[in-house]
Amino acid sequence: MNKLETALRDLSEMDTLASGSSCIHRLHPAAKLIATAAYILVVVSFHKYNLGGLLPMGLWPVVLFQLSGIPIRTCFYKLRIVLPLVMAVGLFNPFLDHTVLYTVGNIAVWGGVVSMITLMLKGVFCLMAAFLLAATTPIDVLCGALRMMHVPGMLVTLLLLTCRYAGILTEEASVMTQAYELRAPGQKGIHISAWGSFLGQLLLRSMDRAQELYDSMLLRGYHEHFHYAPIPRFRVKDALFLAFSGAFFALVRMLPVVQLLGSFAVQ
């Protein structure tokens, strides 16, 4: 399966996941967007040595994954994209930071090791939260929420249209790539002699398609105003979701939850 087919599968999977009807799916998109942004902000604000403080933050996405009925493994599949760069940056920390933070028996735990693990965990948690938002909110609903939050209409419409056309053009590019591969067995990628014409032809066809798209938009009554999906009203449950999420973030950020739980368990 080539990259394009994988992307198509991912797009279709996200569409399927977003069309669910769990309590998380039914939440107001703006509430989910704000809560996700706040979660990521709090996660990245932890100090690089504060591994204990960061750990409980993992509970929020785990609970939401369970409530939404989305298997966590679908999200971990995406880690292959995020982790390499995070690891590339964090991997040097154990070699450069030899500050002894803890001693477990005779073994000294360096600050570099802790900071590397913290960095990776931050990457994983942020990914989980962003994935959860995209997997429980259809793109047209998300665009409606963005519009509600006064993000410029042009940008929101562009995002929505691009999202719709990304699937179509990816499929077309995938068919072209497959046809090319069948005609050039054993060859990796596109040969230099076809660098220009391969994507160039798709580009020219796409430009004509854009004109057809605009004509069809005009025929459907488009007049510089796009109609997004109907956004449900902001209800009490949405406010409660925001309040509980906010309280949890504040609690974990301000109190050493892990130490408190540990000392409580020891007592």
Partner: protein
């Protein structure tokens, strides 16, 4: 080069959001001022194309590895910097939301690192100067060289700037213990190689578009592009040669027989043709002082009487007269066209 959320401190992410947001607002404002609603679907389809195109691998000969196109440079060459920038935002947002390629909080930084440099620096510092250069219009080959140079240099420089920004942002966030210098030395050479490949792939695509539909490219005027200029020039050369050959060479083979009017009036009895009507060839027509004066003026001013040099029967005179006549006719045609154009313009202004 997509940054993850974990690599940024909230303050740095906020700053990058502010910078990218400002650039986005300026772009939206510029496009609104442009008032071209047709551009929106074009932007969307182009963004979708870049999204798909970035997943197509281009094999680098002799290395076994591959690269992909540079979205920012391609979009700014197709749509201009402002529309290209907004389209890149859509691409990066989709990559972030659906593919976890770059974090949600790091989106501002990613937009700055990949879209801002690629679209604005790439367009204003490389694409426009190269495409508007005098060299671009000189020949088709030069135009291709300019496009390739703009794409290649644009991709390399903007990718270097983006990579350097990643280093700055990560260092400012205090994420890595790697010293700034070492981190920069690690990032820049890798992205130099990536930029080179991306530049070559982007240049190939842009050259293909130029050869097929030059009007799709920004700042390329298809009516005055090198190919059109070349064809006009070649047409003029062909016409010029034709004028010289017909006016000069073929005039030597012009018939020495009288033309139709001369033949009707004076006949060609000596060649066993029709009889003379009784007119004197040297002295005919109505006599009047005005006609005498006109004839004397004509004799004084005519450089090549009877299509030959004065007091000479040489063939050279006929050749020169042919060429000169042709040039005078051409000049008259040009003057008539210019006069017509002048009056049309005047009428339009009224």
């Amino acid at each position: 080069m997509h940054m993850a959320d974990a690599l940024l401190a909230p303050q740095v992410a906020g700053c990058m959001y502010a910078l990218s947001g400002t650039a986005a607002c300026v772009s939206v404002w510029k496009l609104k001022k442009e008032d071209n609603p047709q551009k929106l679907p074009l932007m969307a389809v182009s963004a979708a194309l870049v999204f798909a195109g970035q997943m197509i691998n281009y094999t680098i000969p002799g290395t076994g590895s591959s690269g992909h196109i540079c979205g920012g440079m391609l979009l700014s060459a197709l749509l201009g910097p402002y529309a290209g920038f907004l389209s890149m935002i859509a691409v990066l947002a989709i990559q972030c939301l659906f593919f976890a390629d770059g974090g949600l909080m790091a989106l501002g930084a990613n937009i700055w690192n990949m879209a801002f440099y690629g679209c604005f620096v790439g367009y204003f510092c490389f694409w426009r100067p190269f495409v508007r250069s005098r060299r671009f219009g000189q020949s088709d080959k030069n135009a291709r060289i300019c496009i390739s140079a703009a794409a290649l240099l644009g991709c390399i420089v903007t990718l270097q700037m983006g990579a350097f920004s990643v280093v700055l942002e990560t260092t400012a966030s205090g994420i890595t213990d790697l010293p700034f210098k070492q981190f920069a030395l690690l990032m820049q050479p890798i992205h130099l190689a990536i930029g080179l490949v991306e530049g070559l792939a982007t240049a190939a695509v842009l050259n293909y578009v130029y050869s097929s539909r030059p009007e799709l490219l920004m700042d390329v005027d298809p009516s005055s592009d090198s190919k059109a200029r070349g064809s006009v020039r070649s047409t003029l050369v062909v016409l010029g040669v034709a004028v010289l050959v017909i006016g000069g060479g073929l005039s030597l083979a012009a018939s020495s027989n009288p033309d139709g009017l001369e033949w009707a009036l004076f006949g060609n009895e000596e060649d066993a043709g029709v009889k003379n009507m009784g007119l004197d060839e040297e002295d005919y027509g109505a006599k009047s002082p005005a006609a005498d004066r006109a004839q004397s003026i004509q004799e004084r001013t005519s450089v090549l009487p009877d299509y030959a040099f004065k007091d000479s029967d040489s063939a050279a005179g006929t050749v020169v007269s042919g060429i000169a006549g042709s040039l005078i006719v051409a000049l008259a045609a040009v003057l008539i066209c210019m006069a017509g154009g002048f009056f049309r313009k005047k009428k339009r202004l009224e």
